[in-house]
């Protein structure tokens, strides 16, 4: 059952992503992006990272993409620009470049001997052990907050400062300057 869900949501995510890249209309692209994020959130749920799934939907799909939509509509980009005909030939070049990159990566990993074994995902409800010195995995948000405020306290604070700086930066950058001034 879960497998089928995985395949479905993966398909949704990927198709939405491809559509986003290919569609000429930016607003359509933003919409497809939202779908892709929601699909990713679903994949997070499948990976039992519930907190992150919610965060993904709220922050990414909800705030970030909405901001994108605001700006797209603010800038009023014409529909005609960036049509399909414009990048038909670039599509081949780009696709081949990306494909080549993937192929190169594949070849390198094949030859360097770093094979990823095929594990299954074990059930988490058993007694978790401390694994590799990291914080043990649980599905509850409690452990999330726990490690966030103990082990990762410093990055947490720094992230706070980062957000402050970003906010100030946005205000400074988007301030309107009169041309006749000075």
């Amino acid at each position: 059952m879960l497998d089928i869900l995985f395949y479905v949501f993966s398909a949704i995510t990927l198709i939405a992503a491809v559509l986003m890249v290919l569609t000429p209309n930016a607003v359509n692209g933003a919409m497809c992006m939202i779908v892709a994020f929601i699909g990713t959130a679903a994949l997070f749920v499948l990976l039992e990272a519930y907190f992150l799934a919610v965060i993904q939907v709220v922050v990414y799909a909800g705030a970030v993409m909405v901001l994108f939509l605001f700006i797209i509509m603010l800038l009023d980009v014409d529909k005609g620009e960036g049509g399909a005909t414009e990048y038909k030939d670039k599509l081949t070049i780009g696709a081949s470049a990306i494909g080549f990159l993937l192929l190169v990566m594949l070849v390198f990993s094949a030859f360097s001997g770093a094979h990823l074994p095929e594990p299954g995902l074990t059930a988490v409800t058993e007694n978790p052990e401390v694994f590799n010195g990291g914080v043990p995995f649980t599905t509850s948000s409690k452990s999330f907050g726990y490690s966030l405020f103990t082990k990762y306290m410093l990055p947490f604070q720094v992230a706070g400062f980062l957000l402050l700086a970003a906010m100030i930066g946005v205000i400074v950058v988007s301030k309107k300057h009169d041309i006749a001034e000075d």
Binding site: F6, L14, A166
Partner: protein, 101 residues
């Protein structure tokens, strides 16, 4: 669930590739930016999958921070794009280019 780590990683890799495609192909700055976000998203997926596989929380926490930073970055980036639009009256990359070639 019999789907293994590799499947998740393949999905993440494909998402990343699609994002890369978008970055290299599109002329619209906003779409390029969205493709960038898509790449970040793919990385998030990979992190969570690894975290689950390894049985630690560290991957999840890192994704948390990535989302935070990505949000801040998007805000700032879009502000810059708006400022650029005000200057050049366009968001197409080829028209924005002031260097001659």
């Amino acid at each position: 669930m019999t789907v293994g780590l590799n499947a998740f990683l393949i999905v993440a890799g494909l998402l990343f590739a699609v994002g890369l495609l978008g970055v290299t192909l599109r002329q619209n700055t906003l779409v390029i930016y969205m493709s960038l976000e898509l790449m970040l998203n793919a990385v998030n997926l990979a992190f969570v999958a690894f975290s689950r596989y390894n049985g630690t929380m560290d991957g999840n926490l890192f994704v948390f921070f990535i989302i935070t930073v990505a949000a801040a970055e998007v805000a700032l980036g879009l502000a810059i794009i708006v400022a650029l639009f005000r200057r050049r009256q366009s968001v197409m990359v080829d028209k924005l280019n002031a260097l001659s070639h």
